[in-house]
């Protein structure tokens, strides 16, 4: 993975210095809250429901064991001993003091981490595929390009006061494991006639008005990628709406101009930008890419556990089935650690659990971990012969829930328990649903079922992309929950549709039970819940919900 050179380190250290100065000026009254707010947001520091909340960047979801240990240390030293992994591959701490924030940023900088541009109307964390570098289906590792974009977007002088936030995702496979089409810019690296290039999708997003990003440019040679993205951002900065915060994302600009007109404007700007020598040379890409080279994994004979009797352990085999994914090197596996234990809080991990995951990464995964946009953690390079040891350690740490991609692998935003934007609590609903579906045999029978819950219209829980989506709303001062069906953030991208009137907290759990029961009743062999919904349509589901 990428390691800072002295330039990177000096820049991050300068940022810490700058923020320390800004905090000092704020505490001394030289900056009003109105002036300070965008500055602290550009360092990921929110004033939230209970305290300041700090969102730390985990670039494209990749981190080392040393960095993971620092995240645990921060939780212990400055917070309440836990962190929350988010749907943008970052981590959040909910109980931060402003007076500690500069020291926290300094501690992060000591392990090449930061909270730069994790909030504010600027370019946010570049997200990517959590299986990058390990999955067999990618044409190349997308992360060197994500790293180039990260550096290009950091402290970009022209694009730090955009109409609204800006989220970019980069993938390099047909399968979309990063919900790429639901980003402001989604980049898919492909190979055509022996050359690598990028398909550029612009104008996706969730929130109040979910939209799927249309294809704006079919093939950009990778050497021109940064210039093309610069052109997109410039058109957005100049013409994105600034009159209404709910119409300020780039998806609205594309919706109002039309994709063709937007593409035309970008093409004109791109022709100009290309003359400015903005693109780093191939040597810079190579310097970065070399740091993402696959660790030397010796291909081993087909996954054979150390002891044959391991396979007689149904809990272990269940975990293998659900939580591991084939690695491109035979005899290895990609392990997903579920942060959705029964009775737990989706995406939360205690500082000691974070330490356990760091240790496992160091011992068994070449020192590397990933954070997924589904709020789980990945160990990307585990030898099959080590899987049992990893599993046993996870069991001891309460991290062995074998529910990846099952109904209890719920994505939930922090909701009204933590977030001042929320209208309803999301976590208790997630917990009640998980409890209702606690029976693991039933979960496996239901199969792949991506359930996502948002506590408000901002959709940080990505409910529009849920096979089952739940949106919490405020109905005359009471929490109410709308059910939607049929969304997907994968390459078969679609936006979920609302079923009808909402439900109270117990009602929504019943509603989920009814729609899953219907699925079991009418499914064809091999159909996921999503497939059955797409085949039979909304009406049968409305029938069982509203009678």
């Amino acid at each position: 993975m990428y390691c800072y050179d002295h330039y990177d380190q000096a820049i991050v250290d300068a940022r810490v210095d700058e923020f320390r100065d800004q905090v000092k000026r704020r505490l001394a009254g030289e900056l009003s809250e109105d002036q300070f707010k965008p500055l602290r947001l550009m360092n990921g520091l929110y004033l939230q429901l209970h305290a300041y909340m700090l969102r730390v960047a985990i670039p494209y979801g990749t981190l080392s064991s040393a960095q993971m240990r620092m995240l645990a240390t921060i939780a212990r030293k400055y917070d309440r001993d836990y962190g929350h992994f988010t749907t943008r591959q970052n981590i959040q701490y909910n109980w931060i003091k402003l007076s500690d924030a500069p020291d926290i940023l300094a501690d992060l900088a000591s392990v090449e981490m930061h909270a730069i541009q994790t909030s504010g109307n600027c370019i946010r964390n570049i997200s990517s595929d959590q299986f990058a570098g390990a999955a067999a289906d990618e044409v190349t590792d997308p992360r060197p390009w994500a790293e180039l974009l990260r550096q290009w977007s950091s402290f970009h002088p022209e694009f730090s006061y955009l109409p609204r936030k800006f989220k970019i995702a980069v993938i390099a496979s047909e399968q979309d494991r990063a919900a790429m089409r639901l980003h402001d810019i989604g980049i898919r690296i492909i190979e055509r006639d022996g050359t690598l290039g990028a398909q550029i999708y612009v104008g996706g997003g969730m929130g109040r008005t979910p939209m799927i990003a249309p294809l704006i440019k079919d093939f950009v040679p990778l050497d021109d990628l940064l210039s093309y993205i610069e052109a997109c951002l410039r058109v957005y900065n100049r013409y994105g709406r600034r009159d209404n915060i709910y119409k300020a994302r780039i998806k609205i600009l594309i919706h109002e101009l039309g994709a063709d007109e937007f593409a035309r404007q970008v093409e004109a700007e791109f022709a100009h930008v290309k003359t400015l020598d903005l693109d780093p040379p191939r040597a810079e890409f190579e310097r970065i890419a070399a740091q993402f080279a696959l660790p030397s994994l010796v291909p081993k004979a087909l996954a054979a556990p150390n002891v044959a009797s391991d396979y007689a352990d149904p809990a272990f085999t269940q975990w293998l089935t659900q939580n591991t994914h084939p690695h491109k090197v035979p005899g290895h596996a990609i392990v997903t650690i579920s942060l959705k234990p029964l009775g737990g809080i989706p995406g939360d991990a205690s500082s000691s659990q974070i330490d356990v995951m760091a240790d496992l990464a160091q011992r068994y995964s070449f020192d590397e971990l990933r954070v997924t946009h589904t709020q789980n953690i990945v160990l990307p390079h585990v030898a099959a012969s080590d899987l049992r040891a990893v599993y046993d350690a996870l069991v001891a740490a309460g991290l062995a829930s074998s529910n990846v991609d099952l109904i209890s692998d719920i994505i939930a935003c922090p909701g009204l328990d933590y977030c001042s934007l929320a209208n309803a609590r999301s976590i208790p609903v997630a917990q009640k649903i998980a409890a209702r579906f606690a029976d693991t045999a039933r979960q496996r029978d239901l199969g792949e079922l991506k359930l996502k819950i948002s506590g408000c219209i901002n959709a940080c829980g990505h409910h529009h992309a849920g096979h089952i989506g739940i949106l919490g709303v405020d109905r005359k001062g009471t929490e109410n929950y709308q059910l939607s069906l049929g969304g997907s953030g994968a390459e078969d991208v679609s936006l979920a549709k609302i079923t009808g009137p909402g439900f109270d907290e117990d009602g929504i759990v019943d509603a989920v039970t009814r729609v899953t029961d219907l699925y079991l009743e009418v499914r064809d062999p091999g159909e996921r819940f999503l497939d059955t919904y797409r085949r039979v349509g909304m009406d049968p589901f409305k029938e069982v919900l509203y009678g």
């Binding site: 704020r26 429901l49 209970h50 003091k97 809080i345 328990d417 001042s420 208790p428 001062g477």
Partner: protein
């Protein structure tokens, strides 16, 4: 009742105007009635509170209970982590 609330600038802690100062316990909050705005302005100007605002509340035997669920959660802590709340036994937080 009307309560004046905000956050402590340095620590970020949720605070409540008691009539003479700021407390992290909503039970200490004073009813500012219609006179909250000038207090808000002067306390914010003196940096004794950050991002202050007024909320509705009702009087109960245990002290003022914010009317809106969001303010109740804010007053006490996350309903899903009772170990992190100020008064874990509070039931009106629900």
């Amino acid at each position: 009742m009307k309560l004046l609330t905000g956050n402590d600038l340095k620590s970020g802690a949720v605070t409540w105007w008691t009539g003479s100062g700021w407390s992290i316990h909503v039970a200490d909050a004073a009813d500012v009635g219609g006179a909250g705005e000038p207090i808000l302005q002067s306390e914010e100007g003196a940096r004794r509170v950050n991002a202050p605002y007024l909320i509705d509340a009702v009087a109960t035997p245990d002290g003022p209970a914010p009317s809106h669920i969001k303010d109740r959660v804010r007053a006490v802590g996350p309903t899903v982590r009772r170990d992190l709340t100020l008064k874990p036994a509070d039931t009106w937080a629900l």
